[in-house]
Symmetry: C2
Subunit: 479 residues, 2 copies
């Protein structure tokens, strides 16, 4: 555990408000929100300016004290949980929660790393704009964490991941120097793109302190449809048809297996199937309109869906008649994880493969997993258009002790699913990052050239290894 | 100069076809196309497969022979010219010119680094698709070079630079290992994005051998307009209005000063001003339509321009009545550089600043340059919507010896323009990269954190310094 004299040095630097050393105040930040990872830390540093972050990192570098950057502590992979031996301090960005500027005319906002996503949504909405990235943890997740994990969500199809929305970045590098890159330059070819390197680096190369983010116009009108399709292949054909007919206005396109829908209908009060026919697969589609010229989104979506029905791509379809119905459609999608949890223990994978291969993957990988692990049921749902689904393997019916099942079967199922993904040219982490959860699997599966590049970059930026230790980069014995 | 035994070793590895050692055959590739930089090389290696590139790089690493990757040799900054002392060999990708696959349904093409841009355009067009990046050198520039310089062009406003179009990359790293990243994953959070690092690295971190590139639908119909505006501020207001009314369909938006137009009218046969009024500034705008539903592009552009005229944003406007006229409008834009050259000697800068600051920059920086260097005239034209213009400082009237003027004034004018750009939060290289031309200026102007990061990455990937030596990374004495 880090000693009192070190804490005192940080207190002298950051002031009383800048260091939390009370064990009760620290406790909630030592475990991840799912309760899978538990760490220890003698203090939380909470600087309130970029200069304070720089000073804290410089002191940490001098004292060789590792730092674990933390935003909303909503990592899905233990990426913000400190080591269990108390060898590191947490550096929280929560006091850096200012929106420095917001220009609706330029569709640009500059905000600090600690700004909570839903607060950014509100600030943009107040100016007739929106920040087109959202996810379940929006009430806690912060901009710095979203950048450091290159977060995704349901709007990636049209607007891209966080990477596509970051126009500039300010960060403190592991030697305490400040990288000033907030100027939003659409073209800048002054060598390697440091901004791109920091996005998705999970705090292992430095600490993002602020960012310039792209805004888009508020939605003037939307249409939400529910479409029953025979298979994921038809779902992808539907997406291609919609893209051809509706262009860039397709804002959401989520695919759901009928058994997933069944779990929602069983476990979520008030949920009902939007179409009359129960088809093997379902698609939730949202079409948006930035302005109100030309035909409205409902009319345009109706045209595309009529064509899909006619071509036999779709078996049944409904368009939400009003905003309440549109929200009910979306609520089904958003309740899937909760409904699956209610259904019983399951292992969940956040994976991607190239879009054209996804329909076959969804069917074949599920069948292969069920065959390899008798009694389990496997299915997937999610962002077909991004080539990214949440792939679930559920414990055999009647399994009462979930943790025991996971302890017994988890590693073999993990390896099987990840091997299948790699064989399909995919990624074992589409959205959630590597953190500590997938570190060993990354080491096992990454190519030597990839692993070498990751380690070389880490060593180049952080030769002392003080930035978010033991995250993302596989240990030597891991590959 | 590299000796015969080294050449023989590469010949043994790559075969007779894989090594060009005849001085006459090498000569055209030793100078850049503008004739500014001249190098020497005992041989050109020309492997014809990724495995051959990997073998050649591994041998070069073993023998510590630096390699200069070359595509179409169209660098604007001496980025592909070997050192003058003959200490390096050229590695040309020209034999790797296969399109490995092209899927119109998936809007994806996988092609090798040596594919020439216009050949890719043709291949995409044959399948009803297009690759939405184009530039003057398209008949020579290759995909590998375009990726390694993160090329731009006139379609960046809608489709982004090369970075936005690369979905996957295959590259040989400086130790001869192959980075296999061709799978086009829309979401992949397995740590630092190596692909992003190689894009724009100018061959200093490895050699791009192939890429997966995004295609878009062919243009079903387009409308091209010419608009006279009082100032760049109004030009930007016009862009914002068009974006609000026409959404993502604005494919081109180029701003031209009236004196630039004047040079075209004076020097380019057959050129005429598309509008009746000569206004201080002009905008060339193209609106495209992927499908033919709803109102056509001409009708939609007409509506937006009528509004602009009514609001006083525009002073005069014309829409091309047919495709021949549309091409004539574009020819004016494309003839600007040639016309400027005919006008007399000039120094040309490829710079960017944040879009909102660009209108003031265009006016103020030109006035400041003219004041600081009496007799010169300065103006700019280009991609206002990208915050990127070509900024020209022309020699005083009557200057007959251009090279002498540049020798006498060049360095001071360079420093002045670059300082002005940096003061506006901009980049001294928007599109062309650093190469050898801007290396020292990058060293002078980059922040310590930025310089440190560039050098650390270079050293991490290429500890022996064998990849495109003396390019991009400022020498120690340069900053």
């Amino acid at each position: 555990m880090i000693g009192q004299e070190v804490i005192a040095a940080f207190q002298a630097l950051l002031g009383a408000k800048g260091v939390v050393a009370d064990a009760d105040d620290i406790a909630p930040w030592l475990s991840d929100w799912r309760g899978r990872y538990h760490g220890a830390a003698a203090a939380i540093l909470q600087p309130d300016s970029t200069e304070q972050v720089a000073a804290a990192v410089a002191l940490a570098a001098k004292l060789r004290v590792p730092l674990v950057p933390q935003g909303g502590n909503t990592s899905m992979v233990g990426g913000a949980t400190p080591p269990a031996d108390g060898s590191a301090l947490i550096l929280s960005l929560r006091r850096m929660n200012r929106i420095r500027s917001l220009s609706p005319r330029d569709n640009l906002v500059i905000c600090e790393a600690g700004v909570i996503l839903s607060n950014l949504h509100d600030a943009a909405a107040a100016e007739g704009r929106r920040f087109p990235l959202s996810l379940g943890a929006k009430g806690s997740a912060t901009i710095g964490g979203l950048i450091s994990t290159n977060a995704g969500g349901t709007q990636v199809l049209r607007h891209g991941t966080m990477r596509a929305l970051v126009e500039g970045i300010e960060a403190v590098l592991p030697d305490g120097s400040i990288f000033h890159g907030l100027d939003a330059l659409k073209k800048d070819n002054r060598g390697y793109d440091i901004k791109q390197l920091l996005i998705g680096a999970e705090g292992t190369l430095g600490i993002v302190t602020a960012a310039s983010l792209r805004l888009v116009p508020a939605i003037a009108a939307r249409a939400v449809g529910w479409v029953g399709v025979p298979s994921p292949t038809q779902a992808l054909a539907l997406l291609r048809l919609c893209e051809a007919r509706l262009g860039d206005s397709v804002e959401g396109f989520e695919v759901i297996a009928d058994d997933g829908l069944g779990h929602v209908l069983s476990h979520i009060p008030g949920a009902r199937c939007p179409i009359e026919t129960r088809t093997p697969w379902h698609v939730l589609i949202e079409v948006d309109h930035g302005d109100l010229s030309g035909p409205g989104p409902a009319e345009r979506l109706e045209g595309a869906l009529a064509e899909a029905l006619e071509q036999g791509i779709a078996a049944d379809a409904a368009i939400a008649a009003n905003e309440a119905q549109a929200e009910a459609f979306w609520r089904i999608r958003e309740s899937l994880s909760e409904a699956e949890r209610a259904q019983g223990p399951a292992l969940q994978y956040d994976i991607s493969v190239p879009v054209p291969r996804m329909p076959a993957f969804m069917v074949d990988a599920a069948a292969a997993a069920e065959k390899r692990f008798p009694g389990t049921t496997a299915s997937s749902f999610g962002h077909l258009g991004d080539g990214n689904v949440h792939f679930h393997v559920r414990a055999p019916k009647g399994t009462s002790d979930g943790p025991a099942w996971i302890a017994a079967e988890g590693q073999a199922i993990n390896a099987f699913v990840h091997d299948t993904v790699v064989a399909a040219g995919g990624s074992i982490s589409a959205e959630h990052g590597i953190g500590q959860m997938k570190r060993a699997e990354l080491g096992r599966l990454a190519s030597p050239a990839h692993l070498h590049a990751l380690r070389a970059i880490k060593a180049a930026f952080d030769p002392q290894g003080i930035m978010n230790p033991d995250k993302l980069i596989p240990r030597p014995e891991e590959g």
